[in-house]
Symmetry: C2
DNA sequence: TAACGCTTGTTATAATATAACATTATAACA
DNA sequence: TGTTATAATGTTATATTATAACAAGCGTTA
């Protein structure tokens, strides 16, 4: 199974395909301009689709970039435990799938009495290529 | 020592004080309207100050909120290793200062060959009060 | 003083996101 | 089937967040 399947509306499918075809995280207005030929004309249509897709966990938002990537992790049922590495130079973004890390963070507790239900972690650095 | 001291320009001091006085994370335009009486008139002045203060690590940006809080962690020399807990209900934000967590994340490595230099982690949940 | 770099101020505009309301498609069921 | 409810979509306008571009001031030093 390469991708998670869900019942998606037409606009949601169009937006999702656009994101999947891209090699980079896409911004909402960049998605909008890509999908204008497919009949999506205005920001709310894109933002609604994005919201639903994030909710379903088939895409994630990179908060520090205001950009969206499709989820490559078949274990992401929702967007509740996400970790990314972001190359500061080439902007390449990779979803980190590391069960030790996710177990560690999902079970993380401190003494504030807060119950953590969700987290998002973004690492920044230089990727293998850009390090050279 | 309650707060880190650095040589700050006038605008930086004004913005920093405004953030420190606030009990909640502040957004840039909310800061702007607070400081208009002190002679700061336009967005770039606020954004420049914010940028510098983040760089110095005296404030942090909560990426998922586009908001700024002052750093309460005397060990934050820069904004290179940050973790926050965010209450989904009351929006209360706390900087997590947990040396085990920061050691774990600072040393985190995976097999992508990427060298991580910086991270930002945001936990969401319900705080002690809102859990009731 | 003149030239330079740096910080600040100012105007304008770009980029990101949502409110509000109108319209159309779909489903449930009398 | 027609009727009603619900969800999805379309549309216009606007709010919010952020930066570009340039002008003005100011201290340093050649
Ligand atoms: Zn995922
Ligand atoms: Zn790179
Ligand atoms: Zn800090
Ligand atoms: Zn709360």
């Amino acid at each position: 199974m390469r991708h998670k399947q869900v019942n998606l509306s037409k606009n949601q499918q169009i937006v999702l395909e656009t994101i999947r075809k891209a090699k980079k995280p896409l911004k909402a207005y960049s998605i909008l301009s890509s999908v204008k030929k497919k009949g999506i004309n205005a920001p709310p249509q894109v933002y609604r689709a994005l919201e639903k897709l994030v909710e379903l966990g088939v895409i994630h938002k990179i908060e520090s970039k205001n950009a969206f990537v499709d989820c490559k992790n078949s274990e992401c049922e929702t967007s509740k435990a996400t970790a990314f590495s972001i190359c500061k130079k080439c902007q390449k973004i990779t979803e980190i799938m590391n069960s030790k890390l996710s177990t560690y963070l999902t079970n993380f507790q401190d003494n504030t009495g807060m119950k953590y239900e969700k987290y998002n972690l973004e690492f920044y650095g230089l990727c293998k290529r850009c390090k050279l």
